[in-house]
Amino acid sequence: MAVCVAVIAKENYPLYIRSIPTENELKFHYMVHTSLDVVDEKISAMGKALVDQRELYLGLLYPTEDYKVYGYVTNSKVKFVMVVDSSNTALRDNEIRSMFRKLHNSYTDVMCNPFYNPGDHIQSRAFDSMVTSMMIQVC
């Protein structure tokens, strides 16, 4: 279950960030922020190769004692960062991948909305509901 989900734009500012309210949200924001460096590092590591060859799913970015941070990058350099609770039954990689896939699909739906200007904060209810479902998924 995701404790915090964030969508980061290409310029590394958040388009959407949401965490479980019970927790200290600022901590998650900070974790997401620091994870951006790792994301960039992973991107640049494969940067030489064509973007097509680079996989979108970045995998575990870095673990902390309580949480694990996963990353996912789209071809337009929009990053999804997910923080999951380590205490939960360890989510398999496939589950994380599927969650990111759902995120990506929802994000493309948001982009399809002509009233959404790229770079705006994401205020789509469908997106919200999808993220909510992810966050309470494995409670």
């Binding site: 734009a9 290409k10 310029e11 500012y13 337009s76 929009v78 493309t108 739906d109 399809c112 909305n113 002509p114 009233f115 959404y116 790229p118 770079g119 205020q123 789509s124 209810r125 469908a126």
Partner: protein, 581 residues
């Protein structure tokens, strides 16, 4: 029934307030109405009135709504008879069922009350046939659907195809709803999330916008009546209400069938009804009938009024869209377009007029060949030359002495190029003062085409002066405009000339057009032919120089415009908070 009520109210309260904008007051009224309905008849409505965070119920004065229902109720009954024709007054009674302040423009509250009351009373009638669909506000009435379909066609001629996202965005933005709300509406209506709207999706989105404008909070999810599948079933024969409602009735639960049938009947009646009809419907007991007739009347009134108020182009734009409909329907959609969601209509209409203006610019800026620009522009920057290279060319200006030569040469050349009328004509002509700008022109022109060339000279003189006058103004005017003006101005002076010149030579040959006195040409015509050629060559060279100069000037202007554009884009970039790219 509620839908009808909604429609009725929506369409029927168009000109309540005689403000400049019919739509706004009507919208306010609508909001009052609907809010009231929401508050008081939640039980009847399954829609979630308070859910949407985006929903901000209009701040309609609630006290309006509180006013006596019973009072309005009875009045509503009595008012049903009022709905008759009387062109303008009819609207008032329609709007104000009780007609307390009959037609008083200032009596908005009573009207609001009236509309509210009416809606209320209508709702309350348990025996209403068409009322009380669980999701009534989200049901698209027949008139609405036709209106939506027409709007769809105006955007996308092929009803089975898509409206692209950008087109739809521009269209819906005209409704002046906030972007988040529009975004949410899009989210609801674009079921397949493909960034384009099919006809059912478009109707759903439109209906949501209409509802939102009328004060309904947006639903959490797409109501079943707005689902594309549901709407798709309705579309095959939008005009065939009977068939339509048959399908409806089949799909709807049994208890709704009678409502459907009633609705169908009413709609069919309404469809049959033409403008003056309403009176007939009044006889029916059903309020829905009356509402429909009211609706009709209102639409008609609105159409009439709006046609008067709004620019004709709007009508024109609407007409083609509705041309496919039958006559009665044709009239109705037009009026509907005015009456319903008039705000949107006004906006869309408002969009239409602006388009024409650019056209002349277009013709100048793009469509028209550069030749035209060159033809007419040179006058702007180059007052000296003052001539339009093609037709008149340089000659006349330089010096009178040359004129003589030119006259000869021009005459001769014109003889070559044109109909060889020079000789006869020249000989025939007396010695008119060719120097005379206008008079000479016309006189000469009358006599012969050749004379027109003689005219060219004075015309050229005139044109340059005009050009000189216009050039400063033109320069001030935006780049795109000057061309049209000079064109017009040039055309006038040239009209006499070009007409005659065309046969001779519109463009290049005109260089030699500057002619002199015919009689002199006649004398030395034959001998001067060679000289004429040389002169023509020289003229052409001069024309080339002028054109080159013009070209450079145009290039400069182009650069300036580019720079301006870049500056504006930079500003835009700076103002815009972030951009992905």
């Amino acid at each position: 029934m509620m839908s009808k009520t909604d429609a009725d109210i929506r369409f029927g309260n168009p000109a309540e307030l005689h403000g400049a904008k019919v739509q706004i007051p009507y919208l306010i009224t609508e909001k009052n109405t609907f809010k009231r309905m929401d508050d008081e008849d939640k039980q009847q409505e399954t829609q979630s009135p308070t859910m949407s965070p985006l929903a901000s119920p209009p701040s309609s004065p609630p006290h309006y709504q509180r006013v006596p229902l019973s009072h309005g109720y009875s009045k509503l009954r009595s008012s049903t008879e009022q709905m008759h024709p009387a062109p303008y007054e009819a609207r008032q009674p329609l709007v104000q069922p009780e007609g307390p302040s009959s037609g008083a423009p200032g009596a908005k509250p009573p009207r609001h009350q009236a509309s509210l009351i009416r809606s209320f009373s209508v709702e309350r009638e348990p025996h209403d046939n068409n009322s009380n669909y669980p999701d009534e506000p989200w049901r698209i009435t027949e008139e609405q659907r036709e209106y939506y379909v027409n709007q769809f066609r105006s955007l996308q001629p092929d009803p089975s195809s898509f409206i692209s996202g950008s087109v739809a965005k521009n269209f819906f933005t005209k409704s002046k709803l906030s972007i988040p709300e529009l975004s949410y509406i899009w989210e609801l209506s674009d079921a397949d999330c493909d960034g384009a709207l099919t006809l059912p999706e478009f109707c759903a989105a439109f209906h949501l916008i209409v509802a939102r404008k009328n004060g309904y909070p947006l639903p959490e999810g797409l109501p079943p009546t707005l689902q594309p599948e549901y709407l798709q079933a309705a579309f095959p024969k939008p005009k065939r209400e009977c068939t339509l409602f048959d399908s409806y009735s089949e799909s709807m639960p049994a208890n709704q069938q009678p409502r459907d049938l009633n609705r169908m009947e009413k709609l069919s009646i309404k469809d049959m009804a033409d403008f003056p009809v309403p009176a007939q419907d009044v006889t029916s007991d059903d309020k829905q009938e009356q509402n429909k007739t009211r609706l009709e009347q209102n639409k008609i009134r609105l159409a009439l009024k709006s046609t008067a108020d709004e620019a004709l182009p709007k009508d024109m734009s609407e007409d083609p869209a509705t041309s496919k409909d039958s006559n009665s329907l044709k009239a109705r959609p037009r009026s509907r377009s005015y009456s319903s969601t008039s705000i949107e209509e006004a906006m869309k209409r408002g969009e239409d007029p602006p388009t024409p203006p650019p056209r002349p610019q277009k013709t100048h800026s793009r469509a028209s060949s550069l030749d035209l620009n060159k033809v007419f522009q040179p006058s702007v920057p180059a007052t000296k030359s003052g001539l339009l290279p093609p037709p008149p060319a340089l000659p006349p200006r330089p010096c009178p002495s040359q004129m003589r030569k030119l006259k000869h040469t021009g005459l001769s050349k014109s003889a070559k190029i044109s109909h060889h009328n020079v000789n006869s004509e020249c000989s025939a002509q007396p010695k008119p003062p060719t120097q005379l700008p206008n008079f000479g022109d016309f006189r000469l022109q009358k006599q012969s085409e050749q004379a027109s060339e003689a005219e060219i000279h004075p015309q050229l003189n005139r044109a340059p002066s005009q050009a000189a006058d216009s050039s400063p103004t033109k320069k001030d005017i935006p780049y795109s405009q000057p061309p049209s003006k000079p064109i017009r101005r040039k055309l006038r002076p040239e009209n006499p000339a070009p007409e005659s010149q065309e046969p001779s030579s519109t463009v290049g040959g005109a260089a030699s057009a500057v002619t002199g006195k015919p009689h002199t040409a006649v004398q030395k015509q034959s001998s001067k032919q060679k000289k004429a050629i040389q002169t023509a060559i020289r003229k052409n060279k001069e024309a080339n120089a002028v054109l080159a100069r013009l070209n450079s000037e145009l290039q400069q202007q182009l650069k300036e415009v580019h720079q301006e554009r870049i500056a504006l884009e930079n500003q835009l970039e700076q103002l815009r908070p972030v951009t992905v790219l």
